[in-house]
Symmetry: C2
Subunit: 220 residues, 2 copies
């Protein structure tokens, strides 16, 4: 890796760290791009060569998130039931945060705190989840051998799991053992989701309970 690339990587990381720190100190909205650029000693113009927007910097970690989760799903054994595979993929992600460098874990916690302190950012991060959902859906559909364009079941299954993860993250309270709490909370939500689903529903090839036109009786 040449000097050029190394420098770019350093600048980029410095921008993320400086930005995150400023967001935590004085708030996301109150922090201007000029301030972040000044903190890293680059021109404001150059900032936008590294990030398309201030929001892009704040939500940069979602890119890594997407890759880790989709990667984890791809790594699950092909014969694993879809729900189990998805749940394990998300578990792998939150646990990878724990297993990671202390520095990396702190960064993650800081990111979480930033977006939790800003409803707008939180909304956008959830919205970005939709992109990830699409990729997960494609993989689930592939595994189950259905067409994601016409069969809504893979979408629904993925949406259920991501909802559970989101609820789990929402429930996690901000305290000392932030990461531990988050992992526990997500785990609880996933277990709850597992208990809420009808056994076998996620395996579309089994039985006929999943027919689109089925008018199943109320589960309640």
């Amino acid at each position: 890796m040449g000097l050029r690339e190394r420098k770019k990587h350093q600048t980029r990381q410095a921008l993320i760290d400086a930005g995150t720190r400023l967001f935590l100190d004085q708030g996301y909205e109150a922090t201007t791009v000029d301030q972040i650029a000044a903190a890293v000693e680059i021109s404001p113009r150059t900032f936008f060569r590294y990030f398309g927007s201030k929001e892009d910097l704040a939500l940069d970690f979602t890119v890594d998130y997407a890759e880790r989760v989709t990667g984890a799903l791809a790594a699950r054994p092909p014969d694993e039931p879809p729900f189990t595979a998805l749940a394990h993929a998300f578990r792998a992600y939150v646990h990878s945060m724990e297993a990671d460098t202390a520095e990396s874990a702190e960064r993650f916690v800081r990111h979480r705190r930033v977006i939790e302190a800003n409803p707008g950012l939180l909304c956008t991060s959830i919205a970005r989840m939709i992109e990830i959902e699409k990729r997960l859906t494609a993989e689930i559909a592939r595994r189950q051998g259905t067409d994601p364009g016409t069969d809504p079941r893979p979408r629904l299954l993925v949406a259920f799991v991501t909802s559970a993860v989101r609820v789990g993250m929402e429930c996690s309270v901000d305290g000392e053992a932030y990461l531990d709490d988050l992992v526990t909370s997500v785990e609880n939500a996933l277990c709850l989701a597992e208990a809420a689903l009808r056994p076998g529903w996620d395996q579309f090839s089994l039985g006929s309970s999943g027919q689109v036109a089925t008018n199943a009786s109320s589960p309640g």
Copy 2:
């Protein structure tokens, strides 16, 4: 209602209509606030006294959405199972669009087309759903007699249903009978969700299957 209020209402409606039309004609991003203001013959400054942002105008209908759905849920019989009540609340909303004035229905369709043409807007509208989810969760928790602060089950249930509705809306294709397709698609997704859930899970008071710490076996 005095002249003053009537004028305000007219201006507001004119802004929504002019904005929507411009968004459809030349795109959301390509439309400036100045253009919308000019179309209604008000100053750009006044625009921001009616809407906090350009996005607020584009997503104004979500306010009505929230009120109709939460209102519909509140109107469901208290002894109805939570899932059924939620599903009916959303059904009531999409059907209310059909039953409404032709003018009102057209407006709804135009709004949908605008946000569907703009991924950013679509994401934001979904993110705004979170606010609605909170209100629905509170109502479900109240019905089930649990504390929404500590028990994640109401959140999870609500998230499942809203996910199903969202997937249904995504699946609906843009064509001649837009509204009909949308209603059918949402109905399908809700039926699918119903079939996916374990019967009785949504009634927390029954059985013990919903214990937070439960380690239920995989549904798959």
